[in-house]
């Protein structure tokens, strides 16, 4: 097994064996969708109009919830330090961890979206657009989260500071994510927003491993 695959397999094993983490995330995501109709009242038209925003807020908050465990456990038990001498560069290690993290935190949310669709009275077109916009946008959410997690990995209360750091970075994802779903944004607008989302994700995934690896090296001094 190559070093990269070995790391990917290890991350997936660790995440799936501690399956409570994944379930907590899904529960949190679905709960936001479930309580919203109770909070704003049973107005179906209003719910359908708010649905894209609610789904993206829930996805953003869920990704914040999971972000802290990306590097912290490995930092605390010395794995991250030992990985510095691996046959793989820190950048490649960060990329492998990012991919595994996306597979175990964002993909479950996308799979749980049908539940949200029922609670928020979405029609089929909106539902499919939601799935596509989440699939396109969550890699960027995960990537920006990784920068926050890497910068704050050695701080004991890093879980408090990291969200503040990555919130400004995540706002464009929310804006384009919601406008990619919105039906009444104008002709061609949702396609443009989808392309922007995909573009942000590609750029973030390309650059973040370098930024996060640098942050990890500096914070371990």
């Amino acid at each position: 097994m190559s070093a990269f695959t070995a790391l990917l397999v290890r991350e997936l094993k660790l995440a799936t064996r501690a399956s409570g983490d994944v379930l907590t995330l899904i529960l949190f995501f679905v709960m936001v969708g479930t309580i919203t109709p109770f909070a704003i009242g049973p107005d179906k038209v209003l719910l359908a109009r708010l649905a894209p925003g609610i789904i993206w807020i829930a996805a953003f908050l869920a990704s914040l919830l999971a972000m802290d465990r990306l590097f912290r456990a490995d930092h605390e038990d010395g794995s991250l330090l030992a990985m510095r001498h691996a046959a793989l560069s820190m950048e490649a290690i960060t990329l492998a961890k990012l991919i595994a993290h996306w597979l175990t935190t964002a993909v479950p949310l996308i799979i749980a979206t049908p539940l949200m669709a029922v609670m928020l009275n979405m029609d089929m077109t909106i539902f499919w657009r939601t799935i596509v916009s989440l699939a396109l946008g969550t890699p960027a959410l995960t990537a920006f989260g990784a920068v926050g997690a890497a910068v704050t990995v050695s701080l004991r209360r890093g879980g408090l500071i990291a969200p503040v750091l990555i919130m400004p970075l995540s706002i464009p994802i929310l804006i384009f994510g919601v406008s990619a779903i919105n039906a009444n944004a104008g002709p061609g607008a949702e396609m443009a927003a989808m392309l922007f989302l995909g573009g942000i994700s590609l750029v973030a995934t390309a650059f973040v491993p370098f930024a996060a690896a640098l942050a990890l090296k500096l914070t371990q001094e």
Binding site: R10, D77, G78
Partner: protein, 213 residues
């Protein structure tokens, strides 16, 4: 454990090394050398800077002043790929079984998994290979961390208190490991309080840190 290949020689030359952590000076003006086939034991009171020196040598800490020169390194290789660092923390993951832990490190360090079982046997935890690593005792966890040294041969070993939490048999095992490594031309730098019972010969040097403080 006998590795077929002898290690490429690595010389270490440290001159006038000063280490700061935060604002505090840990040690200053440290000059020493280490030759392949010898072990350098770092001694000193708690807080004298043994761990900091090892972290400097491993390339984890910013060097404030002075130089650390490794000779004999392959310029094609990334620095660090010729050394093993085993610190206080075991880097052992609960949730993975004992052999999954070691297989992972073997692959990540560029080796193969064919040596892992024999390394676990040598470490005395072969019988626990399929148990969750969370079930290991402190000493067994330590043995698993040290088994990383065996699965992927590398010339430089940086060990921080390798005998911590180990029983008498464990101490002997470590001494044997280091002996074998030196026989193969490896270089060992270890921070330890215990006297390692190495084979007689002129290959054990001691560096005492923080003597005058």
């Amino acid at each position: 454990m006998n590795h077929a290949r002898t290690h490429a020689p690595r010389h270490l030359e440290v001159s006038r090394l000063t280490c700061l952590r935060g604002e505090r000076e840990i040690f200053a003006d440290l000059t020493f050398q280490a030759e392949p086939g010898t072990a350098l034991l770092l001694r000193g009171a708690n807080g004298a800077g043994k761990t900091s020196l090892l972290l400097c040598l491993a390339g984890f800490l910013h060097i404030h002043e002075g130089t650390i020169a490794w000779q004999g390194r392959d310029p094609e290789q990334r620095p660090g790929e010729d050394m093993h660092f085993v610190g206080h923390q075991s880097a052992v993951k609960p949730g993975l079984s004992v052999n999954e832990n070691l297989d992972f490190w073997a692959c990540l360090n560029g080796g193969s998994t064919k040596n892992t079982m024999s390394a676990l046997e040598a470490a005395g935890i072969g019988h626990a290979a399929h148990l969750d690593a969370a079930l290991l005792s402190a000493g067994q966890t330590r043995r698993l961390a040290l088994a990383r040294l065996l699965v992927v041969p590398r010339p430089i070993w940086l060990l921080d208190e390798p005998t911590a939490a180990l029983d008498a048999a464990g101490d002997k095992w470590i001494a044997g490991l280091i002996d074998d490594h030196l026989d193969q031309g490896g270089l060992v730098i270890a921070a330890t309080h215990l006297d390692l019972a190495l084979k007689p010969g002129d290959r054990l040097n001691t560096l005492t840190l923080g003597g005058d403080k």
